[in-house]
Symmetry: C2
Subunit: 501 residues, 2 copies
């Protein structure tokens, strides 16, 4: 980047334009965080105007005709190095997605999803799926229209065009065999784990647990893992998330005074996202190639921290004494053994976001199949509840009593985020595979973690994952770091070792 | 505004463009608040890029040639109502200021003030004025060049062109006789007050005072005054300010655990600013005419609350029992009489921001005279310290030992904010005059305030000041609300009544 300042080159001009786009995106991201974590409710209306304007300005910047010409010209220029070439590829991808839809369609989608989401907020607590049907149909229709427009440009199927928005180069043809393998494995395995856990009991430590103390404990672990509070904050919001920018990462969580264990794992999960953001290549900070590789990799980094590391024996040995100290906890409920059982409980349930790592994939596979069938026109919106409930019964052996605990639970479809769901489980499997590779590469990793030393792990992640940005495709990045493409057997091995050994 | 949606009209197109400009300004304002109140230090570099980009985008929007054409066309269109006509006038003013300077000059000013400010941050603690001289000269030169460019467009003197940025239509020819009257009055009056207060003693209540309790007390008074926490927040920053937007006002303060009385008055001062912002005409929210009238009026609203209301007998009668209750304060230092003496102490000092309302005008008049002489080329930068010290001796009878407590204390000149200083004292006088009018208009106002009921006062302010936005000039607004133009005798009468009766 430094060596290439010749503004007569199209590539260099593109870098300048994409930097503005990215900086404006950073501004929007900070305002988004503020909206969730700080803004009083009376600020909502004017904030919505600010967010809409920033989105419009960004859309205008990327759809500027000059960008199209510059991309064509840059693609025939010679002399780009690997990073620059990868950057140009990501610029093209962003441009293709942004320009695929005409303004009327973008506006119709925005209006329709906004209405649908509002109706969903009423329909969900009432478990009233019928109420949402016409709105969801409208959203689905527009989503299919958008998918068709993108599919034509990307030369792929409707579903893959949607998936590509969250998981660049993701293909259902690659996901299908992987999810099939999991779906075949899970029912028997789940039964085995449930049988094994039948007589396992644990106690939830008794509160109340002061919010300030919970926060301090979370910050202690965040710092140990490598989170730099000179470049980020931890605050509270209704729905926990990792926002802000790579140089100023804003995490949020939600505390429950009766139970600190859940918010704590939530904080550690978001810390995984945050460390990925912080570790992205600084030299490419405001360029497309300097961003996270996609939602599967992002989720893999949060799950690597939460599931692979923080529910491991090594981590709990390190962490439990700090928990005891933070809350002056002793006796029943405060032993290492108890926390290990608590953090490894497997229990089929209706709600995805509350699921353990064994049953979680079932929730995702169910949604993936249904949303593909809906997008591909093989299923009608009216048939969602029946199909949902059948699948839950088949995979987890339970049937929700109300759509509130079934097909109305997630915002994604109602909000227009189709093609997003598979990234959760792709992320979980990627996490297992990456962590397995890290354990092979970093000598004595478990011993380090037991002592609260995460520098070996984080150094390896920085070098092999975080610091790569979007230089490689997801597939190449994983292969480069772990020696092979996504292999469900690594995740299955992890589950077997942790839950059925 | 509602009746006028014909986009073939130039005026209507201008409204649309200025709305975008304002909404983008709101976004920048929220990020500015975050920078002061929330941002970890590592976020500074990327935030600076965000702020610079937003400023560039806004500058580009207002300097767009289309605006110039639309303004010309709109000014010859007929059928604008009073609000629209006033709005158009403010659009023209904003456009004139924005386009007066060419890009190179804007960039040179930005670079030079930024360097000067950095050097000032080192020079101030060392009291080393010599170190800053070349940088301040560079800033002054560019400021004069900018003033000349604006003066030509506005057809006024150099100094008035700078003043106009903060105080639209402000003229030194109007300020001079007013400040002369004050300058003539103050020395003898100050001596009279000092003689009177010679034997007055008070105690500072003994702390420590928990920050959380100080905050709650501040919020109690804020709510009583009419601050709506659904449309704003109170947080902490190094330099207290009132920021955010009219629908989401973000106040900050700084607490001292050893003394709650200072931060409390600071909060009340910022609350005055906030109530003005909240009371601006909602129908004109994102238009130039819907903004605050200028810095004198803004300062008048903070000083009306802090000085006129909150240091009055009536307010203290209401407030002191709440102070006692908040901190369980009793005995020495906690009586109404003690707080009255504490909040009315007059004492000449070197530092403007610590000054009481009797000596404050001397600090401002001194700066006003020096900055005019510098801008008009009648004084050299090297001569600032000697002239400063002479004036302090003449007006307040004290001479600073170091420039640290003299001409290096304020950021304004070093940061390029020339022409700002007079608005502090114009604001103080406006506050006295407006409050005097409110007392005449609202029957039994003191009695209401004693009971913590501020609705009568705030209702009057909303109707006569806040809700007018920029519909009238400062002069007309004051005349409309109080029956006359700015009259120093009202302020003088207030000082005499409070301090020498």
């Amino acid at each position: 980047m430094k060596e290439e300042n010749d503004m007569t080159r199209s590539y260099t001009q593109l870098e300048k334009r994409f930097k503005r786009l990215n900086v404006l995106g950073d501004a929007a991201s900070m305002l988004q965080w503020d909206m969730a974590a700080m803004m009083p409710k009376g600020g909502a209306e004017s904030r919505a105007e600010q967010m809409a304007l920033l989105a419009t300005l960004r859309h205008g910047m990327i759809c500027d005709e000059a960008i199209s010409d510059l991309l064509d010209a840059a693609e025939s220029e010679s002399g780009l190095n690997d990073w620059q070439a990868a950057n140009l590829k990501e610029m093209r991808r962003a441009h293709t997605h942004a320009t695929a839809l005409d303004e009327d369609l973008v506006e119709a989608i925005s209006r329709t999803t906004s209405t649908c989401e509002q109706v969903w907020r009423e329909a969900r607590p009432q478990g009233d799926f019928k109420k949402i049907v016409p709105h969801l149909k409208a959203v689905l229709n527009l989503t299919r229209t958008a998918a068709a427009a993108k599919a034509e440009k990307l030369n792929c199927s409707l579903y893959d065009a949607l998936l590509d928005q969250y998981e660049p180069d993701g293909k259902s043809a690659l996901i299908d065999p992987i999810f099939d393998r999991l779906e075949g494995f899970l029912p028997d395995f789940l039964q085995e784990v449930l049988d094994k856990q039948k007589d396992v009991s644990f106690k939830l430590p008794k509160g109340p647990f002061e919010v300030e103390k919970q926060k301090q404990l979370g910050q202690l672990f965040m710092s140990a893992l490598g989170f730099d509070f000179d470049h980020g904050r931890l605050d509270v919001s209704l729905h926990p998330f990792c926002g802000g920018t790579s140089d100023d990462v804003r995490l949020t969580t939600r505390y429950d005074e009766a139970d600190f264990t859940s918010a704590l794992m939530g904080v550690l999960h978001e810390t995984g996202h945050a460390l990925y953001e912080r570790g992205l290549p600084k030299d490419w900070r405001h360029q497309p190639v300097g961003q996270a590789r996609g939602m599967s990799f992002h989720e893999s980094q949060s799950l690597l921290v939460e599931m692979q590391v923080c529910r491991s024996d090594a981590f709990l040995k390190y962490a439990v004494p700090h928990m005891q100290k933070a809350f002056d906890g002793q006796g029943e409920g405060w032993s290492l053994d108890n926390f290990t059982k608590l953090y490894r409980q497997v229990k089929p349930g209706f709600i995805r976001v509350d699921a353990d790592e064994v049953t979680y994939p079932a929730h995702v596979i169910l949604r993936y199949k249904l949303e593909r069938a809906l997008i591909e026109g093989q299923m009608e919106v009216e048939d969602i509840p029946a199909n949902w409930n059948d699948a839950m019964q088949n995979m987890l052996g339970i049937t929700p009593e109300s759509d509130r605990e079934g097909c109305l639970q997630d915002i994604h479809w109602y909000d227009g985020a189709w093609g997003y769901f598979p990234t959760y489980t792709l992320g979980a499997m990627t996490a297992a595979q990456v962590y397995h590779a890290a354990q092979e590469a970093v000598k004595g990793l478990d011993g380090q973690i037991e002592k609260g030393d995460f520098s070996g792990l984080m150094g390896w992640l920085r070098e092999n994952i975080h610091g790569k940005g979007c230089k490689l495709s997801s597939n190449d990045l994983l292969t480069h770091a772990t020696g092979k493409t996504l292999d469900p057997e690594v995740f299955i091995h992890h589950l077997k070792t942790r839950y059925a050994a």
